[in-house]
Each structure stands twice: as structure tokens, then as C-alpha cells.
């Protein structure tokens, strides 16, 4: 491919991801959630057309406006062809104007107004996180519709097959078709709960990006950016700016601030003690602090609050040795009470090891409630290996590390575990 072509591909990849979600949202407002498929087709056609034309004529001065205009014109064609079709419901007062040529163009212009797009994105998020859609399907749907990820990229991110991802998307869209979901924010009484579901989906997205070592660095970065952008939208809207929204935002800022120091250029994991703290992004840490302050209102503490406080402790420690592990252990104790989860227990055990030593950590690990659930989880065995190693119990350390290697699918994780194992065998 020519240099020009390469340049366009890089630019479009990023731009397309970002603009696709906006366009899908506006188009879903126009066609209704039951026609999400149509909205996605229009976006796909628009992006294809952009690629073809931009390669020949160069990228226009305002590429986003170009994309919006083309998508809008394609939508007008579809409305003209389908205004009497039962598949589309143009009965509410605003969309009814789309059926008359007198008002089609002006109404379309008003629906595509830049200042409305943020609200449309927000409504789209709530539609994707409808309680009738399973949690994993919610996340898949957000990735596809709002973050502009391809089925292949989603499959890679979740270590599942493209077939599985397609089926999940199909089921979610089927739900939209069968139940006439309105494209709007939930009523005030449901808002808090429904926002919780959206936050949870964003949290899962972010964690997937932050912790996954199997996807490409570029994709991980894009995914983290998208998750943060979605949450930022929630912080900007009066109805969704709850304390937990700010807390999640703070949490993501703190985590993301360490991004540059977590992996080597070759994609190998650098563990916290060895991370170059000068590479931490202080602007993001400051931003996280601001969100933390905003989160400190109301009388409810969410798991995001506590996790953000823990992340803050790590970010604010001058060096690994100066980390306030007692405080962190206290926060993990709290987290395990507020939102018990195997991951929280596991992380707590790390803090126990730093504060009380490996013997206590071993006890904590073996006493994790529902420990059988942990058996298939490589991190559990990896930590167990570390604990045994520090206890000079090399046989059990070796067994645990080998189990961990067997259980993880990530090459980067396998490599770290093998290195540990090699140290042990020497």
C-alpha cells in the first residue's frame, strides 16, 4: 500500500472508532433501537465510502463533519425508501416530520446537531445496558456500537470466538427488536440503578483493557480511552453525575496514569515494584484527585470509591518501599465487606503479605470464602506460588506456578511465571 494509504489507515482507524459510536447513536435515535442493524449498516457504508474517497482525494479538512454529512444523506435515502414500511415507526412527533419532504431535510439537520450528540451517546449507553440484556452481552454491545470495535477485535479482547461474539450481538439486537425499547434516559426513579449498570459495564470494559495482555497495545489503549470517554459523559450530565460516577472516573484516571510503565516495548509485564514511577502521568493523577473530591459527597460508599482510594495510595507512594500497605490493607478489608469478590480477596492477600508476611498471606489465601471458585483462576495459583516461595516451600511453589502457567492464556503472563519458576529451580 502507498504511504498515503498507510497514513489514511492509521488516521481512520482511530477517527472511525471514535466517530462510529456517535453516528450509531444518532442513527438509532432516528430509526429506533429496533433497527440498530440499519444504523450500523449506514455507519459501515459511510466509513467504507470515506476510505475510498479519502484515498483518492485526501482527507477532508473536517473529517468528522464529512462523515456526519455522508451518514445523514444515507439516512435520508433510507427514510425516503422506507417511510411507509412497518419496520420503521415514525409516529412520535419529531420523527413524524421525517416522512414529509417539506420537513425531512430541516428535521434531519436538527437531529444531527453536534450539541445533541452527547445526549444521544448517553441514551445509547442506557439502551445497551438495559436490564433485559445480560451483562456480558451489554459489554459486547457497547464495544460494537459505541466503541466501534469489530467482531474480531471483541473476540480477541474477550478471548472468545468471533462466532460467540456474533451470537451475543444477535441476541442483544433481537431483544431490541422484540421489546420496543424507547431511546431515552430511564425515568428518575430508575436512574440510579440503571446508571449503576452502565457504570458496571464501563468498569468491566476498562478492566478488560487494563488487565488484558493478550490484545495489542494499540487496541488496549483505544479501549481504555473509550471507557474513560464514556464515563466522562456520565460525569457531565446532571442526571448521571452520581458520587459513584465520579469515583469510577477517579479510579480509571489513577490506573491509566500508570499505563506507560506497566509494559515493556515488547509487551512484557513490568510488576509494580520495578515500574519506573517517573513515567507515571501526573496530569491524570491530578485529574483523578479532582474526581475523587467530587466523589466525596452523599453518604454512600461504592466499591469504586474504595478501589479508587487504593489506586490513589499506589499512585501517591514515592517508591514501592514507601507504599502505605497498612492503609491499603484496611481499604481491602473494607472492599471485601462492601463488594466481596475473589479478586478483592486475592488483592487483599497481597496486602496481607506486605504487612504481616507470607505466613499470614497463605492463611488468608486458603481461607478465601468459596475458594473452589479460585481453583481455575491463574492469579490465585500465581500468588500462592509467590507466597510458598517466600516461605521457602519450593515444592509447593513450583506446583502452584506450574498450575498458573497451565491456566493462563496470556503469553506475557506465562513468560513472567516461567521466569519466576526458573529462579526457583536455580
Amino acid at each position: 500500500m502507498t504511504q498515503q494509504g498507510d497514513h489514511i489507515n492509521r488516521l481512520t482507524d482511530h477517527l472511525f472508532r471514535h466517530e462510529a459510536g456517535k453516528m450509531v447513536s444518532v442513527l438509532t435515535k432516528i430509526f429506533g433501537p429496533e433497527n440498530l442493524e440499519t444504523a450500523e449498516d449506514v455507519v459501515q457504508d459511510t466509513l467504507l465510502q470515506a476510505m475510498q474517497i479519502w484515498k483518492l482525494k485526501g482527507v477532508p479538512e473536517n473529517p468528522s463533519a464529512w462523515l456526519f454529512r455522508v451518514a445523514k444523506n444515507k439516512a435520508i435515502d433510507i427514510i425516503r425508501r422506507n417511510k411507509h414500511s412497518v419496520q420503521y415507526d415514525f409516529n412520535d412527533s419529531e420523527r413524524a416530520l421525517l416522512k414529509s419532504e417539506y420537513t425531512l431535510a430541516a428535521t434531519m439537520d436538527s437531529l444531527w446537531k453536534e450539541e445533541l450528540v452527547k445526549d444521544d451517546l448517553l441514551r445509547m449507553m442506557f439502551a445497551c445496558c438495559h436490564p433485559g440484556i445480560s451483562q456480558e452481552n451489554q459489554v459486547t454491545l457497547i464495544l460494537k456500537t459505541l466503541c466501534g470495535f469489530s467482531t474480531a477485535e471483541i473476540a480477541k479482547t474477550f478471548l472468545s470466538s468471533e462466532d460467540t461474539v456474533s451470537k451475543r450481538l444477535y441476541r442483544a439486537k433481537e431483544f431490541f427488536r422484540e421489546h420496543k425499547i424507547r431511546f431515552e434516559l430511564p425515568p428518575e426513579a430508575e436512574l440510579k440503578n440503571r446508571t449503576g449498570a452502565v457504570l458496571n459495564a464501563i468498569y468491566l470494559l476498562f478492566n478488560e483493557a487494563y488487565n488484558s495482555t493478550h490484545s495489542e497495545a494499540v487496541i488496549r489503549k483505544d479501549l481504555m480511552d473509550e471507557a474513560m470517554a464514556l464515563c466522562r459523559l456520565l460525569t457531565e450530565n446532571r442526571l448521571t453525575q452520581l458520587p459513584e460516577t465520579y469515583a469510577l472516573m477517579a479510579l480509571m484516571c489513577f490506573h491509566a496514569s500508570r499505563n506507560a510503565s506497566r509494559l515493556t516495548d515488547a509487551g512484557e509485564i513490568i510488576l509494580l515494584p520495578r515500574q519506573d514511577r517517573s513515567k507515571w502521568n501526573t496530569a491524570l493523577i491530578d485529574e483523578g484527585n479532582e474526581y475523587m473530591n467530587l466523589a466525596a459527597s452523599g453518604d454512600q460508599v461504592s466499591s469504586y470509591h474504595i478501589e479508587a482510594a487504593i489506586a490513589y495510595e499506589h499512585c501517591s507512594a514515592e517508591s514501592f518501599d514507601k507504599t502505605d500497605w497498612r492503609k491499603i490493607l484496611g481499604l481491602y478489608d473494607w472492599l471485601c465487606r462492601v463488594a466481596p469478590s475473589p479478586i478483592a480477596e486475592l488483592n487483599k492477600a497481597v496486602a496481607v503479605m506486605e504487612v504481616h508476611g507470607p505466613a499470614e498471606a497463605l492463611k488468608a489465601l486458603l481461607e478465601i470464602p468459596e475458594r473452589n471458585k479460585m481453583e481455575s483462576f491463574y492469579l490465585f495459583h500465581s500468588l500462592l506460588g509467590e507466597v510458598y516461595y517466600r516461605l521457602n516451600n519450593f515444592d509447593d511453589a513450583k506446583k502452584s506456578l506450574e498450575t498458573a502457567i497451565r491456566l493462563t492464556q496470556s503469553d506475557a503472563e506465562k513468560k513472567i511465571l516461567r521466569n519466576k519458576l526458573a529462579v526457583l529451580l536455580n
Binding site: S93, E94, A96, L97, K99, S100, E101, Y102, T103, A105, A106, T107, D109, S110
Partner: protein, 116 residues
Amino acid sequence: MKEYLFLFRGGDGRTLQQSPEKWQAHMQKWMQWMGALGEKGQLVSAQPLNATGKQVTGSKKLVTDGPFMEGKEMVGGYLMCKADSYDAAVDIAKGCPILEFDDGVVEVREIQELKM
């Protein structure tokens, strides 16, 4: 409520179309006018018509081209709406942006219920 058909004559927008800004501003008014009707649930449908046409006449079904009448006499579009009475329908018609043109005409006709 009864149904009314508005027939639009005159008010040729073609000179206006030469300036995109003026044209947009004018169409914005159509959107406001019809939007208000729609919000009250009174709008049924509306479309502009091309200046071309065909006529089919009589039992011989004679086909001829065009209405070929002078521009301002030709029906250029229609709107169907619901209103309580002729008075109410006329009030609605008074808001029609075609009346910004001096030769613009809105003919208001009530839909007839045929005797069974």
C-alpha cells in the same frame, strides 16, 4: 375532529432556493409549523409536488401531459390534518409559511363523509 386537506398554490420557492441560507431559514419555518401540528397529534401527512404531471380523462382514459397552467394556479403541495372545525383549520392554515409569498394560497377543504 374532522379531517382537512390543504392545497398549496403559488408561493414558488425556486427563487429562494438560490440562496441556501434563505432556503434553510424558510424550510425551518415549515418544520416549526408542521412540528407544532404534529405535537398536537393533528398532522396526518404532507408532501410537495413536482411541477410535472399527467392527466387521465374520461371513459376513454385519454392521457395528456401536465396541468400546464400558470405557476401560481398549479397545486404545488398538500397537507392533511385534523381540526375541530373550518375555523380551526383556517387558523392552522394562517400559520403556513407559503403565505410569506404574496401569491401564496392555501385552499382549505374538509374531507367529506360519503353517505352509506
